[in-house]
Symmetry: C2
Subunit: 360 residues, 2 copies
């Protein structure tokens, strides 16, 4: 079991988390730089397993909220992370024992590392999605009935907000409006929970899993193994499509990066077209108009040359890509979970189907 995140595992984590991010979670490069600097200053982060958590200890997820397109241009000043963690600790009258990633995904896997090393706290080997999702209620903690509030938001100017809402849909509405007003992104701490609650509510092992995905890709390249094969094996994934990006439509609306990418097939897929629709994260993949993968299953786009994951804000005209589908964490296939993270929630007229059930 991995006990620390150091500079090397940070590299692997950033790659692996971006694969799990399904196109979202923000720019991995920026997040990695921030975490690299933080580890250089404060040392490696202790990775705590869910089973090691002390019963009543406070576990606190931290993240960046907003459109990834904005995050790239609006770098946090560093004090926001401490400010949101302290705001929740003060409100609850209890100090955190471990921080946590709310989601797997570029910047939102590394932001908690920055916070943990700066504040001298452990990082839980877990996340709340097993991937990245665009909205706050789309968390395993929410599926398990845990409130997202008290939640704290801070911006780089020094504004701080503490929210207590009647349900997690209201948390999303009010914090999204605040994030838009703060300029399109904010630093947040939310879903505070006891270790006991965390045990049944978080997706355990996500950090180790992301590091493993990144590590296998890296060592495959060094050992001239097939990095794509390694990635598919590590994620139980499958190739959905190979082709060239011919069209990208992107707009930042209501604090989200929304859009569509159209990919024309190459090789085996010549003559076919894959359309990917995204809201921060890739939501559905339609092959010649027919859905072949949908949320909550993961759809990740890889650069065909480097096999590096491409985020929704990085995808661009002319890129040669491989599109990979990966099954979501089991909690998302439980009854009720699809209501907050299935295709119907995002307005699509078709039902969720497990990715494995579609023939390649």
């Amino acid at each position: 079991m991995r006990e620390y995140i150091d500079q090397e595992s940070l590299e692997d984590l950033a790659t692996g988390a971006t694969v799990l991010g399904a196109g979202g979670g923000g720019d991995p490069y920026l997040g990695k730089l921030m975490a690299r600097q933080a580890i250089e200053l404060h040392g490696p982060v202790r990775l705590m397993q869910v089973a090691e958590l002390p019963g009543e200890g406070l576990v606190l997820p931290v993240a960046m909220m907003g459109a990834p397109t904005v995050l790239v241009e609006k770098i946090p000043n560093g004090s926001e992370l401490e400010s949101v963690v302290r705001a929740i600790e003060t409100r609850l009258g209890q100090q955190a024992v471990a921080l946590m990633s709310a989601e797997a995904g570029g910047i939102n896997s590394t932001i908690p590392i920055v916070a943990a090393t700066e504040l001298g706290l452990s990082l839980l080997d877990a996340d709340g999605m097993g991937r990245a999702f665009p909205e706050i209620p789309m968390c395993s903690m929410s599926v398990r009935g845990i409130s997202a509030t008290p939640m704290a938001l801070a911006d780089e100017k020094g504004n701080l907000m503490l929210l207590e809402t009647v349900d997690n849909a209201w948390t999303e509405r009010l914090s999204r409006a605040a994030t838009v007003e703060m300029g399109g992104s904010s630093i947040i701490a939310l879903y505070p929970m006891t270790a006991r609650q965390a045990t049944s509510a978080v997706i355990s092992g996500t950090m180790s899993r992301a590091i493993e995905i990144g590590e296998r890709r890296r060592t495959a390249r060094q050992q001239t193994l097939d990095p794509l094969g390694e990635l598919l094996e590590a994620t139980s994934g499958k190739i959905l499509f190979r082709g060239k990006v011919v069209d990208v439509l992107r707009r930042t609306v209501g604090g989200f990066a929304r859009g569509t990418a159209r990919i024309e097939g190459l090789g085996e897929d010549t003559g076919a077209t894959l359309q990917i629709e995204f809201q921060n994260e890739n939501l559905v993949a339609l092959r010649d108009g027919k859905p072949v993968a949908t949320v909550p299953d993961l759809i990740s786009v890889l650069d065909a040359d480097t096999r590096a994951p491409v985020t929704t804000e990085g995808i661009s005209y002319g890129q040669r890509v491989e599109v990979v589908g990966m099954p979501c964490a089991p909690i998302w296939r439980e009854p009720g979970a699809l209501e907050v993270a299935g295709p119907g929630y995002f307005g699509y007229p078709f039902e969720y189907f497990p990715l494995e059930e579609v023939e390649a």
Copy 2:
């Protein structure tokens, strides 16, 4: 000196505050009903003079935020007032000694009465504007450099927000966005201050003044004196125009009730037109296109028959009205104050001039 607000003085206060509200501050009838019920349940409210305040005691203004057009349809459930007061007390680790009106104006003069009687607190004989204004920084406390935060917002659903901002302009932005998201109105507590700060930062005696204005109008009617003359004497006001409302343009935008009322002259003013522009409150009065009164001076519209003040959401086609101008509280004529509450702030291309300097 008046020591309590009971049912009788509440009636006078509601009328007088609506005159001072300059068209804003929300529906006086609804506010009066709420306060009447609260006084019936909990007894009269003790009115505390600024000079009586204990040095380090916490003074806390409470108000309703949002478009008055919305307030009429979205009645608070009662627990929001306690919730915002407790949120600030908890944040500061200090109990309030007195609540206060943030502004003079229909509902925002009576909301603090409801809160004070429910919570068993005194009400300070003061406000932060000497009138009503549409935005948070337009407060005498802000002119004196006091922060509007920590500020608490609550809605009737049970959502609660605590804000700490870098300046009062950011308080306005973030709380306005939240208020819009909460459905267009919210209950707020803000500008917490020590009694010592309050002494130099509030507009003293506003409650008594509003009660006096209402009382003189009421007794004038009983004694067949001229209620308009009494009102002008009590407020050092003057008549700007008499006429009939021929056009009202109103829209609720960004959490504000904005619009224009056009009045065609009658009697001495026959042949002339007065245009009043408002943002919750009446901002400027233009006679045949020429400004005759502007913020921060007060522009109030009275029903010509009853001499009852008419709010911007109550003004309607065909009403016969008298438009009255009244000088603002002296603090608004200090250097710097006009920057946050003068015509330039609201986008008008002319400078403020004291109402008294224009010939009738």
